[in-house]
Amino acid sequence: MTDKTYDGPPDYRLVGEHGMFPRTTHDEKARFNFLAHLNRHLASRILPGVKTAYETRIEPNNPVPNHRNQVRKQLLKDPLFQHWSAQRRNTMELRQQAGRWVTLRQAEAMNAKARDLTEGDERLELDPDLEIPPYLAKIDHHCMPGSYHDELVPGDVTGPANYDCGIFVTTGGGLGRFNDGGGHAVVKWMKTNRPDFAPKRILDIGGGLGQNVLPIAQAYPDAEVVCLDTGAPSLRYGLARAKEMGVDNVRFVQANAEDMSRYPDGHFDWVQSTMFLHETSVKSMPKIMKESHRVLAPGGICMHVEQPQYSPDMPLYEQAIRDWDAFYNNEPFWTKMHELDLDQWMVDAGFSRDELLHGGVAAVVDAELFPEHANDDVEDYGRKAAWHIVGGEKKAA
């Protein structure tokens, strides 16, 4: 061991344990620590080698690719890429198993706690007849068994609890104690760029268990906030979690964002999504974008936060590596979504070109707890907590 200052992932014991957070034993925490390190090792020690292998033994010996899929197919024949991929997939499987073990062994207690916190609370609006869209029903996104919507028993919250306690591992703590670095980043962008914006109603589409919408709700305490999602377990856990964290101005509504007819035109001053569009589909996106435009008030702001698009100046190798999740981590729409001309989609949804909005945001985390993330240079293509905003500002009437 060297005497170099330690610069790896933080200990799992720094994770924020709100009242709904699953309890973990000593060994369960240790298991998460191992997985955070394994993820980091694969990204910082092995992946750069894959790039060298590409440059030294693949590129010189193969036809010049003209598309990232060709790069991917060339990579698939290389033993180092094969091993990196097999390890990464396996690490994802280990992470799911570790998190599911934690939540399933205490399922009864967790489900009872969520029931006690949410029963009779009108801020939880569930719709048992809602049909789960095919792009969510056909495959379990990022290899999460049961996805966002399945319930093992009525009133189940173990799925979102697993998401909440395990994402710290996948990101090596890069999203902060409460995995809400994305929400803090969005707030920071808004406070910096639109200091006078005072939204009365805020909508977070595909908000899941609401971890990223809580910082927004806290930053705008007078606003009524809606976290809209198709997954009942996420919403149930989300309200219980918000209450335990003392955030009271968020409603959790089960609905499909393709049809938000429950809200009148111009109802929201701010329409927001984070890491959402890539889990939908090319058929649903125009409906979602149209609806987002419709429910947006004149003078309001719409913002979608995502990983950067594949642009012609992004090297094909980088595109191919960013695409890994699409093919091997059950994010089937990832590849298509990242090649779309999102500006055009916003225009087709009703925004004019001069209303469009662009920006970049990076996760805001507690720099004292996570000093290495203050200037983290490990690039785990497609997972880094640095995002692009595509949005629109509706002109005041």
């Binding site: 200990d11 034993t25 000593h26 090792h41 080698g49 997939r89 073990w101 091997y328």
Partner: protein, 120 residues
């Protein structure tokens, strides 16, 4: 009544969507998956032992002490550094492969043996 949840059966459930295999021989991938799971458990054991040792240093041990142990920032850093070292050790074969990328024409010991046998 619904069936009780069986964590042993369900924790490792397969996600919906066919699993990709990357290695030329899927058996090797299976062995790799098992090896990494064992590596994980060894890491867990090592962390627990570390907790016990550090507690022993200070006082006698109890189960509750172990469950609730919080490393200081320094101790957490030391543990993190151990993880880095541990992974580098287990995954050394990849490090070797990466280092060898610069040396595509490096001779094998056999090559050198043949060469040396022909010396003089």
């Amino acid at each position: 009544m619904t069936q009780p949840i069986d964590p042993l059966a369900l924790a490792g459930a397969k996600p919906k969507g066919k699993r990709p295999y990357f290695l030329d021989n899927p058996d090797v991938e299976r062995v790799m998956a098992i090896t990494m799971a064992v590596a994980q458990e060894l890491a867990v054991m090592r962390e627990r032992l570390d907790t016990v040792e550090r507690l022993l240093e200070a006082k006698g041990i109890s189960q509750a002490d172990i469950e609730n142990f919080q490393p200081t920032p320094e101790q957490a850093d030391a543990r993190g550094a151990w993880h880095q070292e541990y992974l580098a050790r287990i995954l050394r074969i990849y490090q070797q492969e990466i280092e060898a990328l610069d040396k595509p024409d490096e001779p094998t010991s056999e090559d050198i043996g043949v060469e040396l046998g022909q010396d003089g």
